[in-house]
């Protein structure tokens, strides 16, 4: 799956992510912890903000002449989890869910592995997730997503900023989404 890079802002973002990684070591990110040091924000409010995404969205094309993907948000688990589905070939899924007063995600990645992340902060319309652990990593240097930052521009526009790691090098990616409607595809 092709992903757009940040271009000129890459260095700045890499520096920011390096700073964040110093602030929150992996020992601080044990999945079993409900409340952990270094996190901030009202994650119940963040989850409600995520749930407001329910419906169908269009990804901005990567370049002229290309089509972006369709992304669908739907609830499951009696409202306790939000599924993000990249519809098409190949499909990809991320599930956001509560854990007490914290917020988690599992990313069922097209790279064939499944990183889990936990919310680090929610402020200024930005929700940041940091890496916890990963299953099915084929080798230590294999690509896997490490962080996700969601920027809520307004109720109809969001950006998903991913940063992955491959052979020790950061691989940033950006998905910009615009709401098509509040319906799910099969109900259209």
């Amino acid at each position: 799956m092709k992903k757009k890079l940040f271009g000129g802002s890459c260095v700045t973002l890499m520096a920011l992510f390096a700073a964040f990684s110093l602030l929150a070591s992996e020992e601080d990110l044990q999945y079993s912890q409900i409340s952990k040091p270094g996190v901030s924000g009202d994650f119940m409010a963040a989850f409600n903000r995520l749930k407001s995404l329910e419906g169908t969205w269009d990804e901005a094309p990567w370049s002229v002449g290309e089509d972006g993907r369709v992304v669908q948000y739907r609830l499951t688990g009696r409202g306790s989890a939000l599924i993000e589905e990249y519809v098409g070939d190949p499909p990809m899924t991320t599930v956001y869910h509560l854990d007490g007063d914290n917020l988690r995600l599992t990313h069922y990645c097209n790279a064939g592995n499944q990183p889990r992340m936990t919310a680090a902060f929610y402020r200024n319309d930005t929700l940041k997730f940091d890496f916890v652990d990963v299953t099915n990593l084929s080798e230590p240097g294999a690509y896997h997503t490490r962080t996700l930052e969601i920027k809520f521009h307004d109720e109809n526009h969001i950006d998903l900023n991913f940063v992955g790691l491959k052979n020790g090098n950061d691989v940033p990616g950006l998905v910009s989404l615009t709401r098509r409607n509040t319906h799910l595809l099969q109900s259209e």
């Binding site: 799956m1 092709k2 940040f6 009696r78 409202g79 306790s80 989890a81 190949p90 990809m92 990645c109």
Partner: protein
């Protein structure tokens, strides 16, 4: 002749990291999760036989001692470039699934995460396969969003291929320390 602006561009190109120059990357395409790279034979088996739409009924109880049977539709979708099976349970006419289970390999092992209607999310690990009954058994690994130990949460899942077009799924959970079983009997939908 090199124009001043051209010089500036060349200088920037020299000092920018390679990752800044590349316009696009293909996430994971060179490490795509095609079947030859999936080590879990059990996951490949589930993937081969489950994908598609299934219809049937479920009950809060066992086959031998059921409560009321109610209709259900279950969809199995592949995701993550074939590295995850998303199982969505639809009750009634709802557009959203009532609950979802995702099966995925972990090396040679097989795991699942169950996004439960009880609003917690247990993970389970494949533990047994009974060749005679074609039953995959999963056992509890850990859980998120469990508010109290006494709250209902699933601890085991048994998935049985009764035939290639008929499956049974049994969730065994615990509430207040007592076992609670939910049984699904599903047939492959003709609309597949």
């Amino acid at each position: 002749m090199i124009y001043p602006n051209t010089k500036l561009v060349l200088i920037l190109l020299c000092v920018m990291p390679i990752s800044n120059i590349v316009a696009e990357v293909s996430e994971g395409t060179d490490e795509a999760a095609d079947d030859s790279k999936i080590k879990s034979a059990e996951f490949r088996d589930l993937k081969q036989h489950l994908t598609g739409k299934w219809v049937g009924e479920f009950t809060n109880g066992t086959m031998e001692n059921p409560a009321e049977w109610k209709s259900v539709e279950v969809q199995y979708l592949l995701s993550g470039n074939g590295s995850a099976i998303v199982e969505n349970y639809f009750y009634g006419a709802a557009d959203n699934p009532g609950m979802t289970t995702v099966y995925y390999p972990d090396g040679a092992d097989l795991q699942l995460t169950h996004y439960c209607g009880a609003q917690n999310h247990p993970r389970m690990k494949w533990s047994t396969y009974d060749k005679d009954t074609r039953t995959y058994g999963f056992q509890y690994l850990d859980i998120t969003n469990l508010h109290n130990e006494s709250d209902y949460h699933s601890r085991m899942l048994d998935l049985t291929f009764v035939t290639n077009d008929s499956i049974r799924i049994v969730y065994t959970g615990f509430v207040n320390g007592k076992g609670a079983i939910q049984t699904y009997n599903l047939k492959r939908s003709a609309s597949n």
